[in-house]
Subunit: 111 residues, 2 copies
């Protein structure tokens, strides 16, 4: 566990991670507002454990959200507003992306 800003305080494994790596298109087109809204909305879902996000100057961003189980991930993916954002991602905001769903088996921090 960690109390550092930007580093999620997750419980002992096992739990799930959704690793979202994306390359943005040019321009904002409402992206910043949508991303903030999705982060806030996702955090209200049962089973949400935390989120970490970084985007470099080269336009590559990585967001990892942590979840109790796969059912929690599936429920959030089906959220109506989130579905609309996913469509906007495919059509407008992301030139490319990859989503990976992974089961966290071990974790450790700075001693």
């Amino acid at each position: 566990m960690s109390a550092s800003p930007g580093i999620a305080r997750t419980p002992e494994p096992p739990y799930y991670a959704v690793i979202f790596t994306a390359r943005r298109t040019e321009g904002d087109h409402g992206y910043t507002a949508m991303a903030a809204r999705m982060e806030a909305l996702g955090a209200t879902y049962p089973g949400f454990l935390g989120i970490e996000s970084a985007r470099g100057a080269d336009g590559i961003g990585i967001t990892v959200s942590y979840w109790r189980d796969e059912a929690s991930i599936a429920a959030w993916k089906r959220d109506t507003e989130h579905e609309r954002a996913q469509r906007g991602g495919r059509e407008t905001w992301y030139a490319d992306y990859q989503v990976r769903i992974a089961k966290v088996e071990r974790a450790y921090g700075k001693p």
Copy 2:
């Protein structure tokens, strides 16, 4: 799979991900050179599948490396030069970090 710069071309799951989330200390202190060297060296290890990295202006960085199996991750962790870098990370470069080892079960990209 993806051919996009910055997005790793990984095979069909299952495979492993090492999610490394860190908050840097102030100043470089040799960090940039070490990070480039570690990325190049890690890629020579058997079982290495790819790497994705992003660091925001807030100092939070996320690096996800992908590996065929846990044995590949363990072998890279024991590399002598990597062990020295890990010690430098604890002592100098990182104010805090979290390492999570996760088994990627599913993956999909932009249609």
